[in-house]
Structure formats: C-alpha cells, structure tokens
Amino acid sequence: MSGKAYMAPEKKIKNVFDLNPWYFSKAYEEYLAFLHRLNDSVIGVHTTADIRCSPLVIDFIDMLDSLEKWIDKIPLEEVSEQRFGNKAYRHFYERLCKEAPELLQQVLPAEAHDAIIELVTYFTESFGNATRIDYGSGHEANFLIFLFCLQKIGVFNNEDNQVLVLRIFNKYLRVCRHLQTKFKMEPAGSRGVHAIDDFQFAPFIFGSAQLIGSKNLVPDSYLKKTVVEAHAHTSLFLDCVNFINQTKTGPFHEHSNQLWNISAVPHWKKVNSGMFKMYEGEVLKKFPVVQHMFFGSLFSFDRSENVKETNEEDIQPPQNSGMPPRAPAQHGMFAFKIPSVANSSTVRSATVVESGDLRSLHTHKHPEEHCPPPMAEP
C-alpha cells in the first residue's frame, strides 16, 4: 500500500438517493465480504478457545483496556430526572478524540502510520456520539470498518480473523457496555422493542456462528436464564443475551421480542444466515444508520468493479417497490423500505423542511429522545 494517498474520510450519504451508489460501492462489497470472513472463521469456536495472540494483538487489547480505565476515572455528573445520557460521557469522548491518534501511533507498526489519518475517524466514531450521548449499530459498524481497514493495509491478515472477533472485538464490546451502563447512553435511532438489541448487532451474527454445531444448545435454549448464564462465556450471542437479562426487567418476550421470535428458529445455521440478511436489511440499508458513515481511500465510496455496467434505470433511486439491485431476496415485513421517503409524499410537513434547520440544533446534548433529524430532501 506504499505511496497510497490517504485522506481524511468524509460523509458521502447525504440523502436517500445516495443509497444506491453505496450499495454498489467498493466499501459495501468489501465490508460485507470481510464480515463473512470473520463469521466463517469462528464457526463452532468457543469464545474461550485457545487462540494465538500476537504481540500486536496484545498491544491492541491493552490499548482498549486503557480506554476502559479512563471510564472508571470519570466522575458522573449529577442528574435530576434524565433517564438517558449522563453528560460526563463528553469528557470521555473529548479525551478519546484528543488522544486517539497517539494511541494508534503507539500500537500500529511504523508502516501503517500514514493511514492513521483515515483510521482515527473510524476509531473515534466507534464509541458513540457525544452530541446525543447515544450508541447504536452504526457505531459498532465503525469499529468493524476500523478493523477492516487494518486488514486492508496489512496490519492483520486472514489468519488473524478469529483473534479479531474473539479477542479484539470482544474487548471492544466490554468497553462499549461499560460506556452504555455507566453513562446511561441512549440506544441510537432506537426502534425500541422491535430491534434485535438496543445497542449491538454484530455479536449476534458472530455468536450464532460460534454456536453452529453445538451439541447441547439449540436456539430455544437461550430463553432460559440459567442456561444463558452458564454458557455466556462460550459465545458472543449468549453473552449479549446475558447482558440483556442483567440490564432489563419485565418479560423477555416484551422487551426483546425479536430475540424471542428468533428463538423459534430450529438451527443455529439458519439463525446465522438470517442474522446476515437482517444486518443488511436493518443496518446497512437503513438511511438513518448509514447517513453517518465516513468514506476514504480504504473504505471507498467508488463504484465496485464487480458491479456490471448497468443502464440508467438501475441507478434510479430505490422506490418502494424497487429492490436494491444487489440485495438478497427479502420478503414480507422487513422488506426493504425507506420510511422517510416512502412517506414523504404523504406527510405535508416533510416537504417544507429547510435543510439543516433542525440538524444545526443537534449540536448539544438532549435529555431524552430526539426529534429525528429531517430526512434530507433531494
């Protein structure tokens, strides 16, 4: 990669009409392939399995560990009646932004230092948003993109895939949970009880892969609290369910309805493949999530070469009925939809949004939920 011109990543998905170029981009294709590689590397592998960690990996984990120590040191700000978002989170984020380039410089080998200008964006974006004090699957994706970039510049190779998931990503999860619970971060763009989890998605993908071939655990097993507790250390999936059991009260089928439904799937293999489809449909293809994504030379918005030349019609913005061309088959209730646009013709006020008026107000923290920013009009 020497001689490559790195650049500070930029946002490219400004409105729903930018979604199609995103589906066709190198970034989309390579990121998805990367996730599949990670996924396949941990099929049937326990989280606690004996895997070799290079000194570089240990340094990485230490670096994430130091972030976690910062969290402990930050005193909480007194809250009165706010349920979400302790402002003290901003101290963490401020320090992260300030020290991230140096942290990366310390762990990365010298030949990767040029790339830090790109890497640092994904790294700092991984730990939530300081304005809204929220965290969601978009932030999680940033960390995976960060790992993807590291693999692309050769810091990690394909042999490291297991370690990336079970050690580094797992450690990242601990840090994020620590942030979420300590600062009461809000689930970003929450669809409430209809999302798979308030905060994470990827560990459900990787974790279900880990459980493929399990002799004593079927998907139905994770409804039992004691089973989950006993096996949480073996799979990221069960670890996440365990975390939900610890942080939420009330009936499981109400607060985690998606997981309750998925427990009826007969095999982990089906769960795993379903998770991938759902990740594409509910995260990668959702404008509210991907509008915040950054693109640079590594995670590139350029059109993928593998996409066949298409005529003008295919580059038309996706309509209600139009499936994104490269989407896997999706049916029924979660079929591709862009709620804002699907409804913009039906909502009178949506057509009179002055661009930026509300978004510019989003520069400070909010106590509770938000008025979602107006979807950009073409």
């Binding site: 009646e81 379903g274 209730m333 804002s340 013709s345 009178r348 989003h362 008025c371």
Partner: protein, 334 residues
C-alpha cells in the same frame, strides 16, 4: 345528524387522502360500529380486524374533527401521562384510578412507541373514546405523529401485525385531529409538552390549524415538544431538536394572562411518577412504570376535584400476569 358544513369540519386531508381512501374505502361502512364488542376484545390485549380498525378510525376522525383545539373538561377528573405501548400497565392504571366511565380521564398523549403493545394500547383507548366520549379525553403527544412513530416502534408493530402499513396510516390520521389541550374547570391547562414562545393565550392556542402532521417547528410543535427547567429564565432552544426549554417566569406569566392556576404536562420521565415544579405552578405526570423495561421508575395519575388535588401511584405489572404471545419468526430466518 352531524353538521358537516365546511366551516365546521377541520381539514383532515393531510396525507395521500385519495390513495388511502381508494385502498381502504371499501372497509368503511362494511362493518358495523360495535363499541362494546371492540372494547371487550381490546381489553384482552387483542387488536381489531383491519376493517374494524379502519371503521373505528374513520368514525373518530369524523367526531374529533368537530372538537376544538383545547377541550373544556369539568372536574372531578383524573389526569394521566405517557403510556408508551405498555398495555398491561395501562390496565393497572385503570385499576388504580378507576374504570371508564366511573372515572373521567384526560390522557396527555404518547400512547404508542417504545413498549411492546402500542397497537393494543391505542386500540383500547380509541375504543373507550368511541364509547364514552364524555368520560375520556385523549390529547396528542409528540409520538402521535408519522415521523416519530415510524422510528420508535408503532409503525413496525402495525407492519408486523397487519402485514402492511395501511392501519398505521389510519391511526395517524386520527392522531392529526386529536385535541392538543384540555382545560379543566377553566383553571388547569393540560398539554403534552409545554409552552411555546408564540403562544401567549389559550385563545391563540385555539386558532392553530392542528389537523396536520406535527411540524418541525412553530407553536404546534412546541406545545408537544417543550420541557420546563429550573435553571432557565424564559426560553432556550431545546436540545431534543424540537420545541423549547422554558422557565418559571414564562410559566407564571402564561398562567396569569389566562387566569389559570396550574400547567399540567407529561413528556418527561419522573422517577416517582409525579413532580411539581415552579412553586407548584407546573406538574409533570408520568404513567409508564418501568419505562423501556429498564428504568425501574414508578408511575402516577393525578386527580383533580375542584380545589383538591391528589396523586395515586402504581407500579409495573409483574411478569406472571401478562399473556405470552406466540413466536413469529421474521422472514429473514425462514
């Protein structure tokens, strides 16, 4: 016979009237209006068949369109805050405060989103409104809008339960015509969020064109989005992205100008369920216990009877007394 001359009917044509009417008009009038039957179903945490739901909505739209923006209510009355799809906790609320029509209720909005049973919750409340219009008043909250309920759960729920978005559209059309305020004994004003710098009098509140999607700004938006704050003098832009944060001075000014004694609102979680601010000039009522299945908070209803005011508290219903639904696997996993 209801007088439906143009002056008396609010403009309801908010959305793609034509399309929606075309696709579902055959459903209106094909079913009889059966409030008793519907209430029985809804009380068992069931939602209505599509044609009944549409008939319910269409009837309510006709009726609510004739209501003023701020409806007068006489005490004794029980005031409730956010419900957020917590169906079983709503039943607990009725146990605590009394059943309709034995108790007269004002609900201050946010019936849907967040909780698991938005559809069943709003169905029950709408059925009660249909049967007992003089004993229950439903105000509009910021979640009673397309933009918010698309994101926070209600849309997904309708989509899952009916298999399409039509019923959600109908419910949203009812939301468009829900009143935005209630005036109790000419002395207590109830709204969902709070005040607006553009609204100085109840009269100006009456003049707003409310039959529309909740806008991104302006008085109609502020009424449903604003929050009070002890540290604020008068007006500060709200960091929620809509509405304002308002202080004690403007609250007292508003009450004085309109000869009122109390501003009652919900919109913000209060751990105890009820909280006075600004020297008992403003009250926040919260009626969703253990909000989002994690907050562990209590809930309350606020009773007003002439000059006496009292608060009743209740907690989340234990897991055992809730029905367990069937598991429905999303198509992704088939």
């Amino acid at each position: 016979m209801i007088d439906r001359t143009p002056e008396n009917v609010l403009r309801v044509s908010v959305c793609d009237e034509g399309e929606l009417e075309k696709t579902t008009s055959h459903l209106i009038g094909t079913r009889k209006i059966e409030p008793e039957q519907w209430i029985t179903w809804a009380s068992e945490c069931k939602y209505l068949p599509e044609s009944d739901a549409v008939a319910l909505c269409a009837t309510l739209i006709d009726r609510l369109s004739l209501e003023a923006n701020v409806v007068p209510v006489s005490s004794p009355v029980t005031i409730c805050g956010d419900i957020h799809g917590q169906f079983y906790d709503l039943l607990e609320l009725f146990k605590t405060g009394g059943t309709v029509p034995n108790t007269k209720y004002v609900f201050m909005g946010d019936y849907v989103d967040r909780g698991h049973y938005s559809l069943e919750t709003v169905t029950l409340l709408f059925c009660l409104l249909l049967k007992y219009p003089n004993h229950i008043t439903l105000l509009r909250g910021n979640h009673e809008s397309r933009r918010i309920s698309n994101v926070y759960g209600f849309y997904d729920e309708c989509q899952n339960k009916y298999g399409h978005g039509n019923v959600h559209k109908w419910f949203c059309k009812v939301f468009d015509v829900l009143p935005i305020g209630a005036l109790i004994d000419d002395s207590v004003i109830c709204v969902h969020g709070g005040l607006s710098p553009d609204i100085r009098t109840i009269d100006s509140l009456m003049l707003l064109d409310r039959a529309q999607e909740v806008p991104n700004k302006g008085p109609l938006c502020d009424i449903m989005w604003s929050d009070p704050d002890d540290d604020v003098e008068d007006w500060v832009i709200s960091q929620r992205g809509a509405g304002f944060v308002f202080g004690a001075r403007v609250t007292e000014e508003f009450l004085l100008n309109n000869n009122l004694s109390l501003l009652c609102r919900s919109h913000q979680l209060v751990d105890e369920g009820f909280k006075y601010m600004f020297n008992e000039k403003l009250a926040t009522v919260w009626s969703a216990p253990n909000y989002c299945y994690r907050c562990g908070n209590a809930a309350a209803v606020f009773e007003i009877d002439g000059n006496s005011r009292s608060t009743k508290y209740f907690n989340a219903v234990p897991d055992g007394s809730r029905e367990k639904p069937d598991r429905v696997v999303a198509p992704y996993f088939l």
